[in-house]
Every structure is written in C-alpha cells, then in structure tokens.
C-alpha cells in the first residue's frame, strides 16, 4: 500500500519519536509513505478559531498535492487528522465550498484524496496471518491504557471508531501480545490545546484525572496516537506529580513505538529514549522477558 504522508509540524519537533517510529514500522509492514513535498502546517488548533475558510484552506493544499499524486493521506497527528478530515468532508458536501477552496488555494482539490488516521491504516495492515511471522517480541507484561484522545474519533459522523469506547488501538496491541485495560477515559480530552496555548493550569486537573483513572484500571503505561496528547501526558506528568505531591510513573508510548518494538526494531530507532517519563525500564522489562516469550 502506498500513502501520501503528512507528518505535520509536531512530528518534526516535539513529536519526533512518533515520526521515527512511524517510518520504521511502515517499512517493515510494507506500507510505502511518500512525504508530501513542501507540505504546510494545517493550522490545527488556531486557524479554525480564527477564520472558517482559512481552517479549511490550509489542509486543502496538502490534500490537493496528494490528490495530484493519486494518493490518500496517512496522518499520524490526531489534530491534523481532524482538520484535514473536516476539509475533505466540507469539499465533498458542498460544490460551492469546493469551488471557494480551490480558488483560495489556487489548486485543484476534488475531495477524492481522503484524510486517513495512521492508527486506522496500521490497524488494517496487520489484519491477516502474515503478521504473525513478523512479530519478534510479544509485548507481554504491558498493561496499556489506550488513550485515543478527543479528536481522533470525533465527530461521530465521520469517525472510524466508536466515539465513547473505541477499540482499534486495543485490538492492535492485543495482536502484539500486550494487555489493555478497560477504562473510561479513552476519549476524554486531555486539555492539550490549553497546554500549548496559555492556560496550563486548566490542564493540570484534567490530566490528574486521566492518570488516576489509568492507575485505577491497573495500567502500567499509557499509549497515544497524537503528539499533542503525548506532550501533555508525558512532559506534564512530572509537573502534575509535583503539584499534587504524588507519583504516577506512567510511561507514555506512541502506539507506533510499541508496534515497532514488537516488530523487533531497536528502541533508539523508535525514539524510545526521548521520553520525559523514563520509558526504558519498562521497555527493558519487556525485552528481558523476550527469551521465554519470543514469538
């Protein structure tokens, strides 16, 4: 399978390990990723609060380039995915909007190139028996709280998974031998948009609830599909711990990192050493268990 690849701004900076691990596992899974040349920022989190048309037009340019190449777009970041999907839907829903957007971006975009979430694409690519041969390490011992975040499976009308209790990430991780916990914060917002903007104090109490819920459910790590969630859950965890004088010690992974680990890719190539909450001890535990549990 070949996709146009839209890493988005975060993946070239704060979310670099998401980018690294995505490219690595794509190689192993036989997914060809063609990075959209000279892609632009989709305007996520700011444009749609400033101007409706701008919010639709910025992602449209990237989609247009992909459409020219005849490809659907694989998007790792949930926020970029949500904005790009909104554009795709708007163009398909209204001829008038299609025309306006084309005029604004001065390019042709017919709504044929689809915005697709990386999680969905990876989930599809591991269906079938062939994947069994590729698994090097079973992720036994991982008790993951899958955190989908708020944007990945909303709005409900275009979502690829259930907006209240999504399962795709859980199923993906089960395939690689990890356990996932049943918890009720899968799609509760983490307040990331306040984190990056100017209201971190709002985020702290939202985050606290997520950590407690994951802990109560018996998780030993969190898994995300969004660089904004990651930033928030990983980087701010220590801050929240300090604020409430407690310890959660919950390493946070991108699902791509864990898939990569299971596929036998070296942890440093996946960026696993770049986390704020040290993920390596848990990773090492899984690797040590490997002897007995090699797939």
């Amino acid at each position: 399978m070949k996709y146009a690849y839209y890493p988005g701004c975060s993946l070239s900076s704060t979310g670099i390990e998401y980018d690294m691990s995505t490219r690595e596992i794509a190689k192993v899974l036989g997914i060809e990723l063609w990075e959209i040349p000279e892609w632009n920022c989709c305007g996520a989190s700011s444009a749609h609060l400033t101007d409706h048309l701008l919010a639709l037009a910025l992602p449209a340019r990237n989609l247009a380039i992909a459409e020219e190449a005849g490809l659907d777009v694989a998007i790792p970041c949930a926020a970029c995915y949500a904005r790009s999907k909104a554009t795709e839907v708007a163009v398909n829903e209204s001829e008038e909007m299609k025309k306006t957007i084309q005029e604004v971006i001065e390019r042709k975009y017919e709504g044929k190139s689809k915005a697709r979430a990386l999680l969905e694409i990876i989930g599809e690519s591991v269906q079938g028996d062939h994947i069994k041969e590729r698994i090097h390490i079973l992720l036994t011992g991982l008790k993951a709280a899958c955190y989908y975040g708020c944007l990945l499976v909303r709005p409900a009308s275009t979502a690829f998974d259930d907006p209240e209790d999504p399962q795709s990430m859980d199923q993906l991780l089960h395939l690689f031998g990890a356990e996932t916990v049943d918890w009720s914060y899968k799609t509760e917002c983490c307040g990331a948009s306040h984190e990056t903007s100017a209201k971190p104090e709002i985020g702290i109490s939202i985050l606290q609830k997520i950590f407690i819920a994951a802990q109560n459910a018996g998780a030993n790590c969190l898994v995300t599909a969004c660089p904004l969630c990651m930033n928030n859950l990983d980087m701010r965890q220590i801050e929240v711990e300090k604020y409430f004088s407690t310890k959660y010690n919950l390493p946070v992974f991108y699902f791509t990192e864990l898939v990569g680990l299971a596929l036998g890719i070296e942890p440093s190539k996946l960026g696993l050493n770049k986390h704020f909450v040290d993920a390596m001890p848990l990773v090492q535990e899984v690797l040590n268990r490997k002897g007995g549990e090699q797939a």
């Binding site: 259930d162 907006p163 209240e164 209790d165 009720s184 914060y185 819920a213």
Partner: protein
Amino acid sequence: MKRVGVFVCHCGTNISGTVDCAQVAEAAKDFPNVEYSIDYKYMCSEPGQEMIKKAIEEHKLNRIVVASCSPRMHEPTFQNCVERAGLNPYYVEMANIREHCSWVHPNEKEGATEKAIDLVRMAVAKAVRNQPLQKTTIPVTDRALVIGGGIAGIQAALDLANAGHVVDIVEREPSIGGKMAQIDKTFPTLDCSACILTPKMVDAAAHPNINLLTYSEIEKVDGFVGNFDVTIRQKARSIKMDVCTGCGICMEKCPVKVDSEFELGLAKRRAIYTPFPQAIPNKPVIDREHCTYFLRGKCGICSKLCPAGAVDYTQQDELLTRRYGAIIVATGFELFDYSVYGEYGYGKYPDVITGLQFERLINASGPTMGKLQRPSDKKEPKNIVIINCVGSRDEAKGKSYCSRTCCMYSAKHASLIRDKIKDSNVYVFYMDMRTPGKGYEEFYDRSREQYGTQYIRGRVSKIYPLNDKLIVRGEDTLLSQPVEVEADLVILATAMVAQPDADKLAQKIGIGYDKDNFYTEAHPKLAPVETHTQGVYLAGACQGPKDIPDSVAQASAAAAKACGLLSKPEILTEPIVTEVDEKTCAGCGTCLLICPYKAIDLKTLTERIAGEIVERKVATVNEGLCQGCGACTVACRSGSIYLKHYTDEQILAEVNALCL
C-alpha cells in the same frame, strides 16, 4: 335534474379566520346545477343540520356539498343528516377547506379563499355524478380474540366476558400478567402490584367465557370484520396441561440453571419452569433450548419424578384455526436497550441497572426477597442515582418521544428506597417532571418532601467506575454547575419501546404502525382505540407508552367497542368497494397481487360465444375484505376494476372542474 345545495362552514374561526366563507358561498351560486348556497358558523351543529334538511325540502335539493373540515371528521354526520331528509347518504360530497386550506395557508387570506372556491367547484362537479349506494350486511361471529395477556389484555377480556361474549386470550409467554407482574408497588398509591393484578389473573382463568391460550402465538389472520379466521400456534409445552397438577416437584430437581427472563438476569430458573410462583396457568413448560433431554437425549428427571405423569417430551406445536368477530391487540411494550450509550458504559457496569430490574430487587418475592443490594458485591447501596429519560427524548441515540411513565416510576423508586434504607441518599437526574395524572403531582411532592429525594435538573453526561463507586457526572442546570455523585447504584429509567416484532404482527393483522412501531389508532382524538381495519381494536402500551390506569381505561374502551360489534348478529358494511367489469376484465391477476387486504380472487366464467361454451377467468371482489383503498384500480391495465364513489368519471369531473 341534479339540484345541488352548497353549505359552507366557518368552523368558528378555524376556517373563517382565513377564508372568506360568504364569498365562497356566493361564488358557488354560479356553479352548474347549484340551486342553493349558504354559509354558517357551525354546519355540524343541530341548527346547522336543520338548515341543510330544510333547504333540501324547500329547494328540492338532491345533491349536497358541505365545505368544512376533513371527511374523516364529519362525513358520517352529514350523511346521517341527509338520510334523515330522505336522500341517499352518498349524495353528500365534502370539500375539505379546513385541513386542506385554512390551516395550511393561515397567512394568505386571498389565496386561501380562491382555493376554497376551487375545492367547492370540484366537489360540486363530483356530487352531480354521485350514485346512490346501499350498505350491505355481513354476519358477525360472537367470539373475540385478545392478543397479549398483560393488564390491558386481561382487563379487555374480563369486560367482554362479563358482557357475555366468549374470549380467547393468546399470550406468548408461559403465563399471563405482562410487565405488571414484575412490578413491586404501583404509583400513585403505592399499592402492591401483585395484590391488584393476581386476582384479575385468577378471575380471567376461572371465567367460563375466557379461554387462555398461553405459550401461543398468532400465525396468520385472514378474513374481515365480524369474521376473522385466525391461525394460532400453540407451542409445544412438553407438559400435558390436563394432567399436570402444578405441584412443582419437577422444577426443584431439574439440573439445568439458566438466567430467568422474569427476574431479568438477576436470578436463575430451571429448564422446566414457571416464570414466577403466581403464574397463571401455574403449570410449567420445558425450555427446549436448554433442557438436557432435548440437547443430549439424556436426563428425563422431571418425567421420572412427576407423580401425575404429565411430562411429555414428544409434544409438537399445534396449529389451531378459529373464527372471531373482533380482535383486541394488547401486546404491550418492551424496554429500550440502553447498551447503545457508551457514556453510560455500554451496559457493562454491573451496578447500573434498569428500572424494571430495580422492581425485582425491591420486590419481596424477588431474587433478594426484597432486600435492596447491588448486583456486584451484594452490598446495601447508600448513594443511589436515578437517571430519567434514558433512551427517551433523545433523537441522537434513542427515541424522540417521552415515555410518559418513567418520571412517575422514578419518583416511586426514590420513595421506596428511602423507605427501605433510611440513611440513603437518592438523586434523581431529570429534565422535566411530567406528572399530569390524577394525584401524580402530589406523589412527586411526597417523594421530595416526605422521602427527601434530591432532584437535579440535568441530563447525565457520563458514568464511570472509580474504585467500587460509580461516578455520575451531570450539570445541575438550575445552578449552572457541573455536579458529581459518587454512587453505589445507578438506576436507569429506560424508555418504553414497541415489542421488537410489533411490525410483523401488524402486518399479519393488517393494521398500521408509526415510525417507532407503535400501533396507530384510527384517529388520535376521536377514534383512539380503533384501528384503520374495522373490527380490530387497540389496548394498552402497544399503542404508545402508557401507565396502568391509562392501559386499563383503554382496555375497557376497546372492550366496549368490541361489545358493540359482537352484540349484533350482523353489521352494515361500507359500500365504497371496488367492482369488476367482467366484460373487459382479462383475468390477468395484477389486482390480486396489489391488494393489501387480499380481497380479490379469480373466478371462472362460463359463457356462450358464437354458439360455443367457453370458460374464462375474471377477477372478483370480496366486499367484506375490500377496504376501498383503490390500489387495484390504478394497477388494472384495462381499467376494468373501479372503486364505487370514486370512479374515473367522478374523479375526472373534479379535475376538469379545476382545470378547464
């Protein structure tokens, strides 16, 4: 000579508020054949009808046009009126200038008046061509069928039986009683449900005029008003009903345990069982899907133990066909499946239960002997949340309608909990409190004032488990603040929905149902227990969410209607039926396929053509079955089947009056 009189009604201001009635009456004077025309405030009233009668005499009128409301409303009124004046009732033609005109064009007075004039012009053209029609009679079988043995069905059957008519109740469960048998106490008086229901169940079983056909379902309904031929499937009970004494020994020793439907999964029953101890008939059935004998050919314990030798594994389903004069449908409701709500845990949290499950938990004869304990750990709950409107008033995930009973039963649940567990806290999340019944508002008042229930106006957004509690998040919209309750138990007042197979039964009987599969009454105000199919009546929650008082009232009303029908040896039938022109009918049978009431058949004609005897097939209409819908008339390619009172000539005359 056709002499038409036109009578334009104001309907108070319903019509005259928009349509200039005097102008309409004036304009009608110029229409062909119109001899007399007048407007009046209330045509349907006594003086209005007198006016028509007098005009018929004085002006020698022989065709009457009434321009007023829908014919569904008052056509029979005016037909009776002209009949009393000596005319054939079908000489009346109605122009609907209310529903079709004034009500839909309230802001266009001129246009509406013009339209009303056109409608009258059309009606006059048709009236001139109306033919006298005669009602015929058909015999009536004096026996009624009640489908569904809940409180509504039982009440209807008792009323009919007491009036001297023979009634069969067909109930698909092993016992009659319906949902009311599962309920603990009933609002607004808090009397025990069983205490008021079981005597009625016993009465029904003992009544010489009532036959109970439990564990039975409707297979097929043929025929028509007065003469329905109904095929009933009596499912194999595996018990000889005439031999079984109801001792219950079999049920004690059966090794199989499965979830009890009656206890809603809160307790087990055996494979040979009665749904509850007061079941009527109090004789068990074998659930063949779970019985070891039927699954593996071994066991047979119940048969060995039965002192009466009543167990019979070889029994087969039996089909029974009976003729009934009238049918009362009383199949009740089901509860909304709340597992569509991800935000309420998709039905996965054991301590989130439905209102009906609560009725079992608080019931002295229920699985916990009336001790209120939560399902997960059997602890007594201290903080209880009740959520109203779950699945009701929810276009996104549930039903758009209000279920009408849940505000009240939630108030009841709150009071019962507070009565039983004195140090408990009960929070009811509601959107609006709907307490319009007699004594209902006072009941709600008591649940607050006397029992101390906390009412919070807001819809719950999420329930999630935390340790051994359930956190319930809602907004107190009166405070404008999000609130949280740490609950031990959450009770959902789930919507009342139609039976899952309600549509299939409706199709068998030939009655209508709405978007939510509730059965539709013939008129929401004026014919609330009749259906569009003559001789079929509705009772209870199958027609829409209803509580017990309303179900019982409707059941008695349906019984009264059925009595009216059954107490006559024969009835008049509507002459607006189709007729076949045998000369041109090609016998192709298209009409047979199209007729929704199966009223058309083919018959063989024997004719002499050029000296030779030939046979040919033509269509023939059963006037008892034909409902005059006219579907066949448009399907017939040779135009050989026509609907009396709505012939092509008559309709075209209307079209011409409008367009030429």
